[in-house]
Symmetry: C2
Subunit: 145 residues, 2 copies
């Protein structure tokens, strides 16, 4: 029943942007799902441990991508591998940030639905605020057939 499909990944930042922006011709009977995800290494230590700052960040990022926020949630976790999770729940999509303080590490997922919202804008906004030393960024097509 399950078919494994290889993603075609772009080779550069520019290619990735072009792919996200131009590879979708809106079809009347299709769901356009765009998902940008990545890992942020060497983040701003004080920001990624701040629950309310991260909750605000997902709201601001959603606005940057023209997504309508339905609800937001954030939790702080203790311990050696503690950190914060912040989620923005959007109409048929979501933004998720998970952070680990001690590791100065964060993961970011921006999933948008429809052709009007641009997940890249939200992802890049989050990166600009968390100030990682480096980032991996991927695109996944989450559209219907």
């Amino acid at each position: 029943m399950c078919r494994i499909v290889k993603e075609k990944f772009p080779n550069s930042e520019e290619d990735l942007e072009t792919k996200v922006k131009t590879s979708y011709v809106q079809k009347e009977k299709q769901i356009i799902g765009k998902h940008i995800y990545g890992n942020l290494y060497g983040c701003d230590a004080s920001f990624i441990s701040n629950e309310s700052a991260l909750k605000n960040l997902v709201i601001e990022a959603a606005k940057a991508a023209k997504m309508t926020v339905w609800d937001t949630k954030a939790w702080k976790f203790g311990g050696v591998k503690g950190g914060v999770s912040a989620l923005a729940l959007i109409l048929e999509s979501h933004i998720a940030i998970h952070t680990w303080n001690e590791f100065r590490y964060a993961t970011v997922d921006v999933f948008t639905c429809g052709d009007k919202s641009d997940p890249m804008l939200a992802f890049d906004y989050i990166v600009s605020r968390l100030k990682p030393k480096h980032v991996t960024k991927h695109f996944a097509d989450r559209s219907s057939e």
Copy 2:
């Protein structure tokens, strides 16, 4: 600041399973993040439009993957492109299902943290219940360095 990294995707269902299970040697000072995501085409029409059934499904899937559920949320959306979103909020990770009734289409994300939980079990459990005609399944490494 941003570095684009190509994911190496496995060629078969077996390869994907092996990759998820064996490619992680737990390091004391590392966050192990495993993310399985995919698109489900031709799902069971009555199941994917049922908000409470999908909310229960994310809870059951989390149990299947030995994830501890923190909170769950589900929303039903109307209109031509209406459907349901169901999220399980886990300790530093999440499960997200988005569905579109008319399209018999669903997307599934299972993000687990730590070496004890297995996102593949949760993903496969969800697929077994939504009964899609076919599925795309991908693995993303969300670990720290």
